[in-house]
Amino acid sequence: MREITLSQAVNEALAEEMRHDPTTFILGEDVAEAGTPFKVLSGLVEEFGTDRVIDTPISEPGFVGIAVGAALTGARPIVDLMFGDFIYLVMDQLCNQAAKQQYMSGGKLSVPMVLRTNLGATRRSGAQHSQSLHVLVAHIPGLKVALPSSAYEAKGLMKTAIRDNNPVVIIEDKLMYQDKAPVPEDEYLIPFGEANIKREGSDITLIGTSSMVQVAEAAARILESEGISAEVIDPRTIVPLDEETLLKSVRKTSRAIVIDEGHQNYGITGEIASRLNEKAFYYLDAPVLRMGAMDVPVPFSPVLEDLTVPTPERVAENARRLCAGEMIHAA
């Protein structure tokens, strides 16, 4: 199969869906001629024109609000939020205005919009351009949240996001834009709420999201060389969450680590670990271990920044100890 970058995959998904549905359009800062700073949207304005690939002023609450209004009245806007750190700025529009419309109207109003943005540290971008804030939106009923872990997921989840009738937040890993993966030429969509078993194994389950799927896979390779068989699962969407697939795996392996790039404290690992602890309690040999990012603002200095995010080595080390029956805590 041909291999394309995550960036190209997103671009293809957007182009296909924009051809498919004339009510779709893209809205965001420097999305048109510049194709965004990450160049993910290059070429779209040439095909679809400035009416459908719209450069906005630096007004995040404003243009997210505009997207809500357009979605509420019959269009399917796709908002480009340049950095995931700016989610803070648009929380009211996303969580008060978009997420609740369907419910508050008793099912009469819907907001079919997509907010695409990114997450991830270790790019030396400092504390305000490196955050992984997905838990903030995952907590809010009415929003769906997808975290693609490769070009393949990025394309398939984006297409589903655009066709879904709800506000969907899709968060890409900004370090992965140039990573290639096999992506079919033929059209495909990836359904929400279906976890992907990236690798089968029997001794321990490694659940990774977004950037941490690769980390989990690398850890699994290390472990394999030591005779430990790790199963790696990517939930793909954290809302809805495919609890069944995760539970099935954990009931089989009896051990699990949940790995995520958001801060650990009050982050998504707590939810996932709790659900596994609750529903697979009698199968577990040890409590589910959580590995989130450190609970510190992301430091600029490279020597510090690299410490803040889980690495394959540290995941493997924890897995090894868990499998050896050691009692370990994340904190």
Binding site: P61, G62, F63, L72, T73, A75, Q97, P191
Partner: protein
Amino acid sequence: MTSKTKTKTKTSPNTDDYLRMYTQMVRIRTFEDNANQLYLAGKMQGLTHMYSGEEAVAVGICEALTDNDRITSTHRGHGHCVAKGANYKEMFCELLGKQEGYCRGKGGSMHIADQSHGNLGANAIVGGSMGIATGSALRAKLLGQDDVTVCFFGDGATAQGLLYEVMNMAALWKLPVIYACENNGYSEYTKTEEIAAGSITARAEAFGIEAFSIDGQDVLGVNELSKKLVARCRNNEGPFFVELMTYRYHGHHVGDINREYYRSKKEEADWKENRDPIIRFRGWLVEQGIATEEEIETLNEQIKQDAKEAVAYAEAAAYPDVAEVDMHVYAETDPATLQAGN
């Protein structure tokens, strides 16, 4: 402004319009009187904000719109809802949390919406709907639809930065949206001059938006300007900004009873006695020979009766089934559309 012209007569082609405007204003006032009673009688719970006194604003503007045109409303939203064509029954049901309400009881007073008439809904976040209104206008422009969107908000809401963000985009992109600022002199318990520096209309003008400041108690004046601006919006000349000077008769919300510490009874009396939009328009209708005092009394009575019946209906109506509590969190998506090739 137009109330002194004497050119219209009972046979004028506008007679129906005038009577409908009058009717709609009285329907709002009557709705609010009943809502207030329901609250005082302990039959309605929660936070509710009365529109009484501001009727000419909602009616003057909404009468210039079609059902296809959209509005966004505020926490003080009953007036906009009635003016945009809503029925009493579904409104009262909503205020009482009943299943037959416009939002199946899930929205309540602060989130009432009436999709069928283009009312995109009240909003409990001050200024929260400014983006929505502007987005509705962008949708119209992009999809080549010729509807206009009116964004209602209060003087207090002009302090929200969102307004300036969306006015900038509306101006840059020439969107068919009218920002209607209902300046009733107060935001909650604070006078407008204490929270708004400079000039409200100048703020819109600074973004290159044509702005107007008019008497919000004169329904004909409001309607005339609105019709012009709606037509100009349809002709791609938008956006516009209109400040409407008006007054709320009640407290900020139904529970705000002792309010002399922030505004005097004298001031309230002055507005009610000398600037009431309904009394004023009624006088004009009679003066113009469009309706007699008797006809107007009959109309008023009829509306009171309608309200009474709707209230009784709503009080007797069923609450939503408890199973509804976790329905409508997510809209459904037809599984077929999620298949490749579709």
